[in-house]
């Protein structure tokens, strides 16, 4: 159900996300002080190539990582197999990629 390639991809995306997650946690603890507003978020992220790269790579990695993780759960607990399992994984990863890219572009494009 998880071939070597998907297994390695799951570990690779995890390793990529390790420093990104730490960064995200630091940003959250910093940004949440005094509440959040759209203007505050945009003033930090809008027009920044660095936030675009940071959260852009985060979205790519998490889309693959979450899709593979859900693939394992769906296979073990719901018994999905072969083609259905592959279609499920592909749909979830593309959905997250699309929604995540939209979110990142919404806060970084100026």
């Amino acid at each position: 159900m998880l071939g070597v390639r998907l297994y390695m991809l799951q570990r690779l995306t995890a390793l990529i996300m390790a420093p990104l997650t730490l960064g995200h946690i630091v940003v959250m603890i910093y940004a949440i002080q005094g509440g959040l507003s759209t203007a505050e978020i945009l003033s930090r992220t809008q027009g920044s190539i660095w936030w675009l790269l940071f959260y852009g790579s985060f979205v790519v990695a998490v889309s693959l990582h979450a899709a593979i993780g859900l693939r394992v759960i769906v296979h073990e607990m719901l018994g999905l197999k072969r083609l259905a399992l592959n279609v499920f994984t592909l749909v979830i990863s593309l959905l997250l990629l699309f929604m995540g890219a939209r979110a990142v572009l919404a806060v970084t494009l100026s």
Partner: protein
């Protein structure tokens, strides 16, 4: 009755990693959807952000930060178990993952209340 293997700390570490991963994966679409309103509908994003003044929402945020951190630390533990020649330390790292996540999410929580 709890089956014998489920009383093992490493079974708990496995269950926590799976549960946190599943919860985070289900949360992601909502997270992305809300943020994507920043440019096109900033007033609707602000209406949503105003919800975060609610104590229950703050508690939910605490939960999310905990899940993220415990999944992060649990993942490091998993990869260390798979790739590093450790054995007896496994339980310690499982405990460190939970304690570290609690510390970080606790720090976050203290900042919002």
């Amino acid at each position: 009755m709890i089956r014998k293997h489920r009383a093992h700390p490493l079974w708990f570490a496995y269950a926590l990693h799976r549960f946190s991963g599943l919860a985070l994966a289900l949360f992601l679409p909502a997270h992305f959807y809300i943020l994507s309103k920043a440019l096109t509908q900033p007033e609707s994003l602000d209406t949503f952000l105003a919800l975060t003044d609610n104590p229950m929402v703050k508690l939910a945020e605490f939960g999310l930060v905990f899940l993220l951190t415990v999944h992060f630390l649990g993942g490091l533990r998993l990869m260390a178990m798979e790739w590093l020649p450790w054995s007896d330390r496994q339980k310690t790292f499982a405990a460190v993952a939970v304690a570290g996540a609690f510390l970080v999410s606790g720090l976050f929580f203290l900042r919002v209340v």
